[in-house]
């Protein structure tokens, strides 16, 4: 009888050598005349343990990690095929506390299944949401999503059902569904993990959106930095079409929805929804003035639903289990779960999908285990390059959108970047301005010019020129109030939070 191994094909696992591990298992077991089958799954998201391999035994799937190719002989000697004891053995994968304490909804299948296996997808609840949606009216689908309390996971946290309702009520011959898979924020990878590890779920979510608003064409706009995700999506679209989850007749009902994957070209601002639409139309990714909203006049001027990967990926479960089940998770007006990403200088970095409501400290220490370097954590940037740096005194902030807003911080896409006490916050503030200067679309002056001025002011500050802190605050004020989009208006978040919470990094230079 053949023994089945799961070895991730997730690109972070690949970056840590998962392919070499797979090759080693094949050659070593051939030499020992062992019969093994290798399945390439997504990652469970316990990245400090990757490459993490799992072997299927009567006791369930037993995990080992982090495994190097050179560990395979000793693992086989220790009885790897039957889940034998070894220093790298982590026990039954589902019992690993880091996983066990999570509530996986949007990433529930990631790491469990072969991402491109139709059988696996169906065996783990795939298409139940689509089936249910096909039996509902458009209004009923939109109501289910509205009732779930789902808010956009791309950053702005706008209620998804309300957006869909606007598109449903717009009359047009052609409507579009667009997935924002530009995931440009440093410290984030949940979109990538989902696209590589369970692309069918994204496709199913988009198909449900199409049914809800009467759209027949969709696009997934994926950043060029994600070649593995692009390949997985393209393969998944072909299989989904063969199985009637996409195409001219969704599950034989005669309802049409076609989907195409488009590759971005390395501009951060193209994650902003209107810049993304410009880019999809074949132009420079310059932000459009709003109104009109994309829901009224979006791609090619037509009503368009544009949502983040995780937003769409949350929808199949909401339809399959009902709005109430999803709504029952969360805290305050933040309902459901958010896949947090623990990154940077952290011991146990990875993906933590939990209901809103834990504190930042619980994530950093109970899950993350503190800093990787062993030094004290000093600052944590939450919500990407436009998010605030939070000091230790704010680590007890509850992880929900409103609680973060109340301390002038943002949850955004759930990226958490930890820094130890060697961080120079003046340098981080300078980087935030520099990033804005590099990535500004150039449409408004405060963002285009102000960011470059910001870098100069910080350089003068560093050189001990007096009066620069007031200048920096003035500049931030101008950026905040005079910018068309969040690129300019939110760059002050990292800058001012660095200045306000870590004045010693600035003032020792100001006499």
């Amino acid at each position: 009888m053949s023994t089945t191994f799961y070895i991730p094909c997730d690109s972070t696992a690949l970056a840590l050598g998962a392919d070499a591990v797979a090759r080693s298992i094949v050659t070593e077991s051939a030499q020992r005349q062992l019969d093994v089958t290798i399945v390439r799954n997504g990652s469970r998201g316990l990245f400090w343990l990757e490459p993490m391999i799992e072997v299927v035994t009567p006791r369930g799937r037993i995990a080992y990690g982090p495994v190097a190719a050179t560990d395979i002989p000793s693992l086989l000697d220790a009885g790897l095929l039957t889940g034998g004891a070894h220093a790298l053995c982590l026990g039954p994968v589902e019992d690993i506390p880091y996983l066990k304490r999570q509530q996986r909804i949007s990433l529930r299948r990631v790491g469990v299944t072969d991402p491109l296996s139709v059988e696996d997808y169906l065996a783990h609840g795939g298409t139940l949401g689509l089936h249910r949606a096909l039996g509902m009216t458009e209004v009923e689908i939109v109501k289910e999503v509205t009732d779930s309390g789902l808010r956009g996971r791309g950053g702005a946290a706008f209620p998804t059902g309300i957006k869909w309702n606007t598109v449903l009520n717009a009359s047009a011959l052609q409507k579009y569904i667009v997935c924002n898979a530009d995931e440009g924020d440093s410290g984030t990878f949940s979109d990538r993990m989902l696209m590589e590890g369970d692309p069918f779920q994204l496709i199913e979510g988009m198909a449900i959106a199409a049914l809800a608003v009467g759209a027949t064409q969709g696009y997934i706009y994926v950043r060029s930095e994600y070649p593995h995700a692009i390949a997985a999506l393209n393969a998944a679209v072909i299989k989904a079409t063969q199985n009637g989850w996409l195409g001219d007749s969704l599950l034989g009902t005669g309802k049409r929805f076609h989907l195409e994957v488009r590759k971005a070209a390395g501009a951060y601002v193209c994650g902003e929804e209107t810049a993304l639409l410009e880019s999809l139309e074949g132009r420079r990714g310059i932000v459009r003035a709003k109104p009109p909203l994309p829901a009224i006049s979006g791609l090619f001027g037509q009503p368009t639903v544009i949502n983040n990967v995780i937003t769409f990926a949350s929808v199949p479960d909401i339809l399959a289990q009902g709005a109430a089940a999803y709504q029952s998770f969360g805290s305050g007006r933040s309902r459901g779960t958010l896949p947090f990403q623990l990154t940077g200088n952290i011991k146990q970095g990875g993906l933590v999908e939990v209901p809103f409501g834990l504190t930042l400290r619980e994530l950093l220490y109970d899950f993350g285990g503190g800093s990787l370097s062993g030094r004290p954590l000093r600052a944590v940037q939450v919500g990407g390059p436009l998010g605030a740096y939070m000091p230790e005194s704010q680590f007890d902030t509850v992880l929900d959108y409103e609680a973060f807003a109340a301390v002038n911080a943002v949850l955004g896409h759930g990226g958490i970047v930890a820094f130890d006490d060697t961080v120079d916050m003046l340098k981080q503030a300078r980087y935030a301005m520099e990033f804005c200067a590099i990535e500004s679309c150039g449409k408004c002056t405060p963002c285009r010019i102000g960011s470059t001025r910001g870098v100069e002011v910080i350089d003068r500050l560093k050189a001990d020129r007096p009066g620069q802190i007031e200048l920096l605050r003035d500049l931030c004020d101008t950026l905040q109030n005079g910018s068309l989009c969040a690129m300019g208006s939110m760059t002050p978040y990292p800058v001012l939070s660095a200045l306000n919470h870590f004045p010693e990094d600035f003032s020792r230079r100001q006499t």
Binding site: S11, T12, L14, A15, L16, F47, W48, E50, E183, G184, D185, S186, G187, T188, F189, R192, S224, E225, Y226, P227, H228, R262, K263, A264, A265, G266, A267, Y268, S279, L280, E281, G282, R283, R284, G285, F300, Q341, L342, T343, G344, N345, I346, G349, G350, L372, Q381, P385, G415, V417, A418, F419, D420, V423, Q428, Y431, F435, I438, E439
Partner: protein, 155 residues
């Protein structure tokens, strides 16, 4: 000449797509390694755009290049999560090891060095990418030197 027939083939295949310009530019760069300036007039004609519009799009996006890259392209992540684990020291080392700056190619034409702002592996930085799909996590100057020697020893 060869380039031109490649470009014509790509244009014929893609020009009728809605919003065809980015897919066309990607196909050209995938096939040729860059977007040659003399491709611009053909693209403009096929899509009924001005040359300035096509040029504007090529230069707007960081990913597109207008000159041929070295034999390999090395992308070093310089975003926040990688900064927190020392990517700037790595970036300095890489520049001196290649004796070239970012957005430039080493004198022997072997390697082009690019900066990238997040590769999506932020839990295991510093990260680098070599060519389109090869990834290396937890990069250190020592590991980079070994990698470089390997790259250079391959034909």
């Amino acid at each position: 000449m060869e380039n031109l027939s490649t470009i014509e083939r790509i244009l014929a295949a893609k020009q009728s797509l809605p919003g065809a310009l980015l897919p066309i530019l990607h196909d050209i760069q995938d096939a040729l390694g860059y977007i040659p300036p003399d491709a611009v007039p053909s693209i403009a004609r096929a899509l009924n755009l001005s040359r300035a519009e096509v040029h504007g799009v090529i230069t707007y996006y960081h990913y597109f290049r207008q000159t041929p890259p070295g034999r390999h392209v090395v992308r070093v992540c310089r975003a926040e999560a990688c900064q927190s684990v020392g990517c700037e020291a790595l970036a300095t080392h890489v520049q001196s090891a290649l004796a070239c700056e970012f957005h430039a190619t080493s004198a022997d034409g072997d390697l082009t060095l690019e900066a990238v702002y997040c590769l999506g592996h932020c839990a295991v930085g510093p990260n680098i990418q070599i060519d389109e799909t090869t990834l290396h996590a937890r990069m250190t100057p020592e590991k980079f030197d070994r990698l470089l020697a390997e790259l250079r020893s391959k034909p």
